[in-house]
C-alpha cells in the first residue's frame, strides 16, 4: 500500500478493569480522551504501535487500529461506530463521556416532536 493511501489511525482498546474505551497516546499512556491520542499517519509506525499495545495484555483488551481524520482539535472518527465509542451511548445523555464526535449521526427525531412538546407545555400550564 502506498503511503498516500494510508488513512490516519489511532490505537484503541477497552481497559481491562473497567471496560472503558481508551486510546494510546504518543507517550505510551492509555488515555480516555480521544483528543490526547496519538494520530498515526505512517503505516509502519502504526503496526509498531499496535504491537506495543498488544504486549500490554494486562492493561487493555482487544487493541486495534481505528481510522481517524486529523483536525486542529486532534483525531476525530471517520465512522459512526468509532464516534459512538468516543462519545458514549446516544440514548442516555447523562452517560456521555464526551460531546458527540463529528461522525456521530444526527439524533433520530419524530417529525412532529416540536408540536407535541408545545402541547405538553400547554397541558402542564392547565
Amino acid at each position: 500500500m502506498s503511503r498516500r493511501s494510508f488513512a490516519p489511525k489511532v490505537v484503541t482498546a477497552n481497559h481491562l478493569l473497567d471496560g472503558d474505551v481508551v486510546y494510546l497516546s504518543a507517550t505510551g499512556e492509555w488515555v480516555r480522551d480521544l483528543a490526547r491520542a496519538e494520530l498515526i499517519e505512517d503505516e509502519a509506525h502504526a503496526q509498531i504501535r499496535l504491537l506495543d499495545a498488544e504486549r500490554q495484555k494486562n492493561v487493555v483488551v482487544g487493541p486495534y487500529l481505528a481510522d481517524m481524520a486529523p483536525t486542529g482539535d486532534g483525531p476525530v472518527p471517520t465512522h459512526f461506530r468509532e464516534a459512538f465509542r468516543a462519545s458514549g451511548p446516544s440514548n442516555r445523555p447523562e452517560h456521555r463521556r464526551a460531546p458527540p464526535a463529528p461522525a456521530t449521526p444526527d439524533p433520530i427525531v419524530a417529525p412532529r416532536d416540536t408540536v407535541r412538546q408545545q402541547d405538553r407545555q400547554t397541558e402542564g400550564a392547565l
Binding site: 471496560g19 483488551v61 482487544g62 459512526f80 461506530r81 459512538f84 451511548p89 449521526p105 419524530a110 417529525p111
Partner: protein, 554 residues
Amino acid sequence: MYQYDDFDRAFLDERNRQFRHQVERRVDGSLTEDEFRPLRLMNGVYLQLHAYMLRVAIPYGTLRSDQMRALADLAERWDRGYGHFTTRQNIQYNWPRLSDIPDMLDHLATVGLHAIQTSGNTIRNVTADHFAGAAADEIADPRPVAELLRQWSTDHPEFQFLPRKFKIAITGSPNDRAVTRSHDIGLRMIERDGEAGYEVLVGGGLGRTPLIGQVLRAFLPKADLLPYVEAILAAYNAAGRRDNKYKARLKITVLEGGLDAFRAAVEAEFPARRAAFTGVDQQLLADITTFFAPPAFRDADVGLLHTARAVDPVFRAWTDTNLHPHRRADHAIVTISLKAHGATPGDATAEQMRAMADLADEHGYGELRISHEQNVVLPHVPADALPALHRALKAHGLATANVGLASDIIACPGMDYCTLATARSIPVAQAIALALQEREAEVGQLKIKISGCINACGHHHVGHIGILGLDRAGVENYQITLGGDGTERAAVGERTGPGFPADRIVPAIERLIDAYLDLREGADEPFIDTYRRVGMDPFKAALYDHAEDTADAA
C-alpha cells in the same frame, strides 16, 4: 416458585468462587484474554462497546419480589442505577467493572439467581410464556418443566461446547406468547386422548437465516421429555457444523440435512438415552411442581373495577391495553409497560424495580414476570386492587397504557451499546413511539420490532413491521419487513425493498400506518390481518412513492 435447596446453593457458591478466582487470575496476568474469554462468557460477562456487560438469567421470566429487589441492588451498587430487560427474559447491566462482577454474582446467589450460560455455545436461559401459571387460556403451567430443563442443562458436561448457542422455549398455552417457533427447540404442552405431552418443534431461529421451527415429534409423552431433548442435543452436537460460525446453529443442520435425516439421528440416539433415565427426572419434576402451586387467591370484588373504569378515563385506557384474562374471573394479569413514550424500551431504574417489587408484595402475591417483549408482568392481581395499583404505578412513571400498541416496541441495544451492531436501534424506537403516540389507540394492535444488526436480537423478522439497521458504506440504513408474526401463526416478514436512511425511517413508518388506516376494513381488523388480506403492494406503494426518501437501492 422454585426455592434453591442445599445442593443448588452449594453448586452456585462453588461456581461463583471459581469465577472470582478466574477474574483475579485475569487481573494479575496469570490468564490471557484468550484464556479468560470463554470463562467469562460462560458466566454471562461480555465486553461491549463502552464497558463490560453482565447478563443475568431470569429463568423462564419468573421472579419473586426479593429477587427483583436484588436486581435493583445490582443496578444501584455496582452499575449506573438502571438495568435493561432483554428479549430473552434476561436483564443486562451495561456498566459493571470487571473486578466487581464476582460480588454482583454473590449477591445474586443470595436470592437464587445467576448468570450461568447466558452466553457462550451452551444451552441458554429456557424461556417461557410470561403469563405462565396465570393465563385463562393455559392448558398446563410450563414453569416446572422449564425449571427441570434449567437444572438439567446447567453445567451439563456433554453440552458445554456445542457448535453454537442453543435456545429452548416452552409454552403451556395454544396461544403462543413465547415465540416457540423461533427457537432451536420449541416445546408446546398439549394433550392427546387425555394424556399430557409435548409437541416438539426444532430448527427455528432468527438471525441472518430466519427459519420457522418444524414439528420433529407431533406428540411426545410427558415422561420422555429429558431423554428426547438430550437426544436432540446429542444429534446436534455431533452433526452441527463447527467450520462456519454462521452455519453452526441447529436450524442450519436441519435445513442442510433435511428434517427427516435429523429426526432419524434423534430417534437413533433416543433409546439409549431413554434407558439411562431411571425415572428420577420424573420424581424431580414432581418435587419441582410443588413449588409452583398457585398462591392462595383471595376473593375480589369485580364491581369496584367497573366503577373505577366508569369514572376515570385514564384508568380505563390502561385497563383496556395492559390487562389480560386471568384463570380466575376476579383476578387480572397486569403488564407494566417499560415503554414510556420516548424512553429506552426495556430499561428500568433501581427505584422502579423496587417499586414493582413492593407492588407485587402489596397487590400480587409477591410474584413478577419478565416478558420477551421487554415488559414486567404482575401475573396475579385481584380486580379490586387494580385502581390502587394503577395510582402507584403512575407515581413511578410505570403506568403507560400502550401494551400491544405501536409504541410497545421491542428493540435490541444496537449501536448505542453493542459491539456487533451495525446501526442504532433504541433511538429509532424512541422516535417512532413519539411519532405514533397520538394515534396509536386508533391504530390498535401492532408489533414493531427493531434490530440493529442481522443477528436479530430485536426479533425484527417476526414483527408485523420489522426494522433492521445496517451499515451501508459507513451510513446507517434501515430495511423494513412486513407481515412477520411470532405467535402460533408464525411467519417471517417479507422485505419491502430498499432501505431508508436514519432521518427518513420514522416518516416511512408513518406512511405505512397511514396506508393501513386507509386499507383496513374496520377498526377491528388489525395491521397484520390487513397485510395478510391485501398483501405487500399497497404498502410498498405507500413507502416508495416518496422516492427521494430512500437511499440508493441497496
